[in-house]
């Protein structure tokens, strides 16, 4: 006999007396107990790497559903990857709560813009944002690009716009971002190696 909590409450609503009276005889026949249903039984598994520190722990992301076309995977649990030679399935408190990072209520969902002097954000479209940022970057680059220094040496650098690269983003992002910055002549670029 399997009685979920919800089912049990419905059952009691109609038969509190019956439950109790059944127990009056101390009947072992009712000696069942429920453990919670194992929630990963049909979850999909994806191997990933913890994004926090540089131990590089392997994690398994458990997703709701079987990845069929009409299902949108929702990550519902994160656990250490037992095959990983370094963390061997273990996680620290941050890694063990990655689920709450992925689903943080503060996650940004659309581009926002704050105009000069404004007190609030305004929701904007991606197209507008990319066009506007590209325009501002080009204006600044065209105005301040230094082709030659005071000694007449070719230097081709742009110092008036600075860049920071995220040390938690992938090598692939870092590689492309780097070549874009250098193609523009950027020299003011840094990452979190020092801070």
């Amino acid at each position: 006999m399997q009685v979920s909590r919800r089912g049990f409450l419905k059952l009691t609503a109609s038969g509190i007396g019956a439950t109790t009276i059944g127990a009056l005889g101390f009947s072992a026949a009712r000696a069942v107990a429920d453990v919670r249903l194992f929630k990963l039984a049909h979850a999909s598994e994806t191997r990933n790497t913890c994004p926090y520190c540089s131990v590089g722990c392997g994690v398994i992301l458990y997703g709701l559903g079987d990845r069929s076309k009409n299902a949108r995977t929702e990550i519902m649990h994160v656990e250490g990857d037992p095959d990983h030679p370094v963390n061997r399935g273990t996680l620290c408190p941050k890694g063990a709560s990655l689920l709450d990072f992925i689903h943080s209520p503060s996650r940004l969902r659309f581009p926002e813009y704050r105009a000069p002097g404004a007190k609030e954000w305004k929701r904007v479209s991606w197209e507008w944002t990319i066009d506007r940022v590209a325009r501002l970057m080009k204006e600044d680059r065209d105005k301040n690009f230094l082709a030659q220094n005071g000694k007449g040496q070719v230097v081709n650098r742009w110092t008036s716009t600075a860049f920071l690269a995220a040390s938690a983003s992938s090598n692939e992002t870092g590689f492309v971002f780097h070549k874009v910055i250098r193609a523009l002549g950027g020299v003011a670029v840094d990452n979190q190696a020092r801070v």
């Binding site: 926090y52 007190k119 081709n156 040390s167």
Partner: protein, 804 residues
């Protein structure tokens, strides 16, 4: 890390100093406890605070923040004075025998060649002595007064246990106990591993802290050994990768360097960077610099980089000075920076001297943040009450906040601190309209390129010609980019040893950096990553955890740069004859015909021990450097006080602070004096949080909900502070209000005849996220960096603490 996380289990002694792995790297720290449980290893912790690492240590000693060189110098002196050296190793594998110029010297805190006005050294007198063939002069007996060993002995003779105690506040008995423990690992069959992180680097003398441990480990013969090494635990998940890929103002991928103004053409640039061997018969791997560089330019600019145009050399920007974050903040304050594109990162929270950062950001014309979360930086213009008290109407910066995906929503690779490139797989879509970083960068670049194609503008060539070989131009796919940085052959590459056969065929993925060419026939975005995605596929995605040697090498798990080598300098784990020093921990060995092993030999595979090639093949000297003439502030580490120091005088000499550290004119007045700010503070992370991210996540917010400052019982008594009282912590830069944790774990130290209290400041809170709102800790930290690489001095500064 020179070694790896799992390799820690091979150590006989673990020295944790300048780090706190139990809190900052718990899953890596497990291998410390494994070494303790399975190998009877001892754990020694030296830290200003009794940390959660110290809680499981066999031996703990407190130390005053910013006095590590005094401590380590004292250990070096102890080893020399008590003859606790790995003699064979010191003689053969270090620069101990090399002669330095007779006119180099050191006097009362300064090395020769100092220019006080420029705060810079002329380093020419620090050079080695060379003979007529340009080879270094050596004295194998180590007796010549100008040999590095004798110079070192003399330099560290002043670092007596008494002076160490007076400077560091570490009780002499504890210090000597630790010296004895460390000295045991000078035996050829015993090793010590050094685990450090930002506790050593975030000082004005940070680089010299690391030099100190490097010297120590060379003297003990612990470099290249299983269970040895100098292991930077590092911070972010891909900080190693971003550094490998050269995302620093002066760098290019694979530790190549950006040209400077004087590098007029490719030849000048390459000649300066392609060293010649300094000892007979040495390998000198950097002699391949032209191959690495030309292959990178072919990767970046494709067909537009030709032999005739110096492979587009002039398209690269040339750098006149470092543009590290401290300098960029200075330039911003001077009104010389108009735009700031922050892909990730949170400068308002994480840079030192928040008031200066805020003043800089206000002067920007535009700020772009690309992040999954709303950072404090993105809201620098917003009034958040006492935590960020600004008037938005007075701030004219245009701000763009672009939502990006996070790790679970992308494919890609990250490099762990053990240099492992590990591939990860996407599990879900990002929320709302959020996009992957690659797509955001791609769209932004294409928009710029479109504008330059249409309108022209300043030097459009590199923008228009940048290689962009992606199936979907606006959204480069991670797998194509990964293939790109591994590199491929642009033409058939013949094998010089076997005429008629090829090293690699045109169009094939490169098997490794050994096949790179300087003639434009190979493209490789980052030479040290060559081999990560070969013809055999994605090596970073390998998932075989087997460990045939039992040493934790796991050669088929993911892929490690360089060349899938797991322990750097591993040739040095063998004696001169090529036999392992520790037969039970064999990494590599000479089998009579070539070098083989459990790890990939870090050596020329066919160079017989009799040839006399030395093991440190990335150094022109061929050996480990005890003497480092390229450092900005001296060839040997010397103790200098932090810029916010509680002492009026440096106990070691007349020079108070690092003489080569860069200080902007306005910033001299930003340093505090002990009469006003009597306590020594240090900042750090707690195990429950990761920087300023996890305050946005519920469970970590539950585990550490609110800002606090840790103070000693002595300080609490002096100031009438009880546990959990509200207090104000002030520095010369600003002040924060938070609750106090009164603890026995923070010491009252006796330093140079006075009582020094240490104050501990976790960094995690701010005005965004789910935790209680808090002040930004970096309101208090000083705007000065390390003399060599400008890492800010977050770890030692002065504050006052008062009851609120």
């Amino acid at each position: 890390m020179t070694n790896s996380w799992v390799d820690i289990k091979n150590a006989d002694l673990i020295l944790v100093m300048g780090g706190n792995p139990a809190e900052a790297h718990p899953c890596g720290f497990k291998w410390v406890l494994e070494a303790k449980a399975k190998k009877k290893a001892r754990l020694v912790v030296v830290d200003p605070r009794f940390t959660r690492t110290a809680a499981v240590a066999d031996l703990y000693a407190p130390i005053r923040p910013g006095s590590d060189i005094a401590f380590l110098g004292g250990v070096i002196r102890y080893l020399i004075a008590n003859d606790k050296l790995q003699h064979d190793y010191v003689r053969n594998y270090t620069s101990a025998a090399m002669l330095v110029r007779e006119d180099t010297g050191f006097d009362d805190g300064l090395f020769t060649g100092y220019d006080e006005a420029k705060r810079k050294y002329d380093k020419s007198t620090w050079n080695y002595q060379v003979d007529r063939d340009g080879m270094l002069r050596v004295d194998p007996t180590l007796q010549d007064p100008n040999c590095v060993f004798q110079r070192m002995k003399k330099h560290y003779d002043r670092y007596t246990p008494e002076l160490v105690e007076r400077t560091t506040g570490t009780p002499k008995a504890k210090f000597l106990q630790i010296c004895e423990a460390i000295a045991t690992t000078s035996a050829p069959d015993r090793t010590m591993t050094s685990l450090y992180a930002l506790g050593w680097t975030q000082h004005s003398v940070g680089s010299q802290n690391i030099r100190s441990i490097a010297i120590l480990q060379l003297l003990l013969g612990n470099m290249g050994m299983a269970g040895g090494g100098v292991n930077a635990l590092r911070g972010h998940s891909n900080i190693q990768g971003l550094t490998d890929l050269g995302l620093l103002s002066h760098s290019l991928p694979g530790y190549l360097t950006l040209p400077t103004d004087d590098d007029a053409d490719l030849k000048t640039y390459l000649d300066k960077r392609t060293p010649k061997p300094l000892r007979p018969g040495q390998f000198n791997y950097w002699s391949n610099y032209p191959k690495f560089f030309v292959s990178m330019m072919k990767s970046w600019f494709g067909a537009a980089a030709t032999k005739d145009n110096d492979f587009a050399f002039s398209w690269l920007p040339k750098i006149d000075a470092p543009y590290d974050v401290l300098r960029v903040m200075q330039l911003m304050n001077e009104g010389k920076v108009n735009g700031y594109v922050c892909q990730g990162f949170n400068p308002l929270s994480s840079f030192p001297d928040k008031p200066k950062v805020l003043a800089g950001l206000r002067k920007l014309k535009f700020l772009v943040t690309i992040d999954p979360l709303p950072t404090e930086t993105s809201e620098f213009w917003q009034n958040h009450g006492e935590f960020n008290d600004v008037d938005p109407s007075q701030i004219q910066t245009e701000v763009f906040r672009l939502p990006s995906s996070l790790f679970a929503e992308e494919d890609g690779s990250l490099v762990s601190s053990a240099r492992w490139l590990q591939w990860h797989w996407k599990a879900a879509e990002p929320p709302g309209e959020a996009k992957g970083d690659l797509e955001i960068v791609g769209e932004l670049f294409l928009a710029l390129k479109g504008l330059y194609a249409k309108e022209g503008g300043a030097f459009p060539d590199p923008v228009l010609q940048l290689a962009w070989p992606y199936r979907i131009a606006r959204a480069p796919a991670p797998d194509e980019v990964a293939r790109e940085f591994n590199g491929q052959a642009l033409a058939d590459v013949p094998d010089p040893k076997n005429p008629g056969s090829l090293l690699v065929k045109q169009g094939e993925q490169l098997p490794g950096f050994a096949v790179l060419q300087a003639d434009g026939s190979t493209a490789c975005g980052c030479w040290i990553f060559a081999g990560s995605w070969t013809q055999a596929g994605n090596q970073m995605a390998r998932r075989d955890p087997s460990d045939p040697s039992g040493l934790g090498i796991t050669p088929a798990w993911a892929w490690s740069w360089p060349a899938n080598r797991r322990i750097l300098y591993n040739r040095a784990s063998c004696n001169a004859d090529g036999a392992p020093y520790i037969p039970t921990r064999k990494l590599v060995w000479w089998n009579g015909a070539k070098w083989v092993g459990n790890d990939v030999p870090d050596f020329k595979a066919d160079s017989a021990p009799a040839d006399g090639m030395q093991p440190f093949i990335m150094n022109a000297e061929g050996v480990g450097r005890l003497w480092a003439p390229a450092m900005a502030d001296g060839p040997f580490p010397e103790h200098y006080e932090p810029f916010d120091t509680p002492l009026a005088k440096n106990p070691f000499g007349k020079i108070l602070n690092d003489p080569a550290a860069r200080v902007y004119a306005d910033d001299w007045k930003a340093f505090g004096k002990p009469d006003e700010f009597p306590f020594v503070a240090t900042t750090y992370r707690l195990t429950e949080h990761f920087h300023f991210w996890t305050k946005h996540a519920r469970i970590p917010a539950v585990l550490q909900p609110e800002a606090f400052v840790e103070v000693s019982e002595g300080l609490a008594r002096k100031k009438g502070i009880r546990n959990a009282d509200w207090v104000v912590v002030k520095s010369k830069r600003g002040q924060v209000k938070l609750k106090a944790l009164v603890t026995k774990r923070l010491p009252t130290l006796q330093v140079d005849g006075k009582e020094i209290e240490v104050v501990g400041l976790p960094i995690h809170w701010g005005f965004m996220g789910q935790t209680r709102k808090g002040f930004i800790t970096n309101t208090l930290t000083p705007p000065v960096g390390d003399a060599n690489i400008q890492t800010p001095e977050y770890k030692a500064f002065l504050v006052n603490v008062e009851k609120a």
